[in-house]
Amino acid sequence: MSVPLLVMENVSTGYNSRTVLEEVNLKVYPDDFIGVIGPNGGGKTTLVKIILGLQPIFGGRIHFPSGRIKTGYLPQASQVDRSFPITVRDVVASGLKSRNPLFPHLSSSQKKRVDRMLDEVGLKPVEYKPIGELSGGQLQKTFLSRALIEKPQLLILDEPNSHVDKNFEQELYSWLNELSREMAIMLISHDIGTIAPMVKTIACVNHSMHYHPSNQISEEVLKVYNCPVDIIAHGPIPHRVLKRHDDE
């Protein structure tokens, strides 16, 4: 087995004196594709923030056996201020680290990298458009490009399918399938049914974390994990059938 990118040992964290996550143990390997599920307020986003170094920990240890890793992060769409006067190009470029903090401008090679990224994802025609004029799909592409531009070893996506139409959702998932061959991915979602066929393993987060080493999970197991999420899916994965909404 390869060396893990990151290891979390008995990590706990919270806000002010309130503990949100306790005793989290997790190893992320370079070829992992982990679906992170759990109820709202259960600590999914907090888990991500710990990994990104945005959230201090109360106890435990987090370490990177093969040295500091490059991470790419796609925040929830609701966290983005669409009225902010910034262009697609500037957002994508913000994913690049400056080489000289005293003169934090983009080098010519970095500018070319931005051009290539915009070309690859088809955003070149809208590169100077403000983000407020983009469709939901274009906006997610912009933020995903920002997350990917430094070729991260670990890509973390927080609810990437919210605020996008079904067509873009399919495009996004086939994109993630391709990316999973090049980097580890952690995909946070409240919709286990949609992500389960794609991910390899599942982490159930509800104030603590249970790692499930498969993408097949039943309601019974979720109960054992204390992870109250509805399973709504089709295909070979166990699922709950909902009543037709339009009958009510």
Binding site: L52, D81, P85, I86, D90, S94, L96, S98, P130, E133
Partner: protein, 280 residues
């Protein structure tokens, strides 16, 4: 009529006033775009009014009132940024407290200052027509330093304003940039109080910026647009003040607002015509 209007430029005080208006517009274009984009205009209001406490205290102690204002403004700006970062007190409540406390302290200190009572109207509404060479030099130095700062550190300033959390993941010292911008905001506001006064200063930091955003929603372009619109509206306001014999700073704000309304109306009209053409 026109030659009579432009004859006002023969007077040194008017040329000083125009230079002050242009330099204030340049300063406000950068700082104001940052404030409007981050939706922290209300913080600017808090800083402005809290600085009146510093003016009063400086008067009471026999010091330069603008130095007092600068100290109070910087302390208020840093305090608000700290509270907002730590999230211990609701930001809007903290601003409201500092806003009214500053005004109250200012009035109390001015009232208990023995002997000559300073003219409060000068601070509340500015005195752009009495701007001297020293004031102009200060405005010039500050605007040059600000331009250099924005050119060199444009990327981190933009990124920390837009998405501080992501900027942190890229190793940008978000807190340092935000605190520095708070100090810059405070100093920019205090310098502008000299020209337009406490009551009206916020308009110079918002109206040209929201007008510029009708033309472009690209931060790097909003700044020069806001500077040009601010300078044009301010000079037009000064000239109107001369012709109509009305208070200069109020005329400047009135012109900036009229300029915004005209441009907004035109943009809505053009958008409607375009829509009709597409649907027709």
């Amino acid at each position: 009529m026109m030659s009579e209007l432009f004859s006002i430029f023969e007077y040194q005080f008017f040329r000083n006033a125009v230079a002050a208006a242009v330099l204030t517009s340049i300063i406000a274009s950068m700082v104001g775009t940052y404030m409007v984009s981050r939706k922290i205009v209300f913080i600017g209001g808090g800083i402005t009014h809290a600085s009146f406490g510093g003016i009063g205290l400086a008067y009471y102690m026999g010091l330069n009132p603008f130095a007092g204002a600068a100290v109070f403004a910087v302390m208020t700006a840093l305090g608000i940024e700290w509270l907002s970062e730590k999230g211990k007190v609701r930001e809007d409540s903290a601003i409201a407290v500092l806003w009214s406390l500053g005004m109250a302290l200012g009035i109390i200190f001015v009232f208990i200052t023995p002997g000559y009572t300073p003219n409060l109207m000068t601070f509340l509404f500015g005195s752009i027509l009495s701007v001297g060479k020293g004031d102009l030099l200060l405005l010039l130095i500050f605007s040059v330093l600000l331009c250099i700062y924005f050119v060199v550190f444009f990327r981190p300033v933009l990124y920390t304003a837009f998405d501080p959390e992501f900027a942190r993941t890229k190793g940008i010292a978000v807190s340092a940039y935000r605190y520095l911008m708070s100090i810059i905001m405070a100093l920019a506001i205090v310098l502008s109080i000299r020209t337009v006064g406490i009551i009206l200063v916020l308009s110079v930091f918002t109206i040209p910026q929201i007008t510029a955003m009708i033309f472009t929603r690209d931060f790097s372009r909003v700044v020069p647009w806001a500077a040009a619109l601010g300078a044009f509206g301010s000079v037009a306001g000064l000239m109107a003040a001369y012709v109509l014999d009305i208070p200069a700073s109020a005329a400047v704000i009135f012109f900036l607002t009229v300029q915004f309304l005209i441009i907004k109306a035109c943009s809505l009209l053009i958008r409607n015509i375009k829509r009709k053409r597409v649907s027709g």
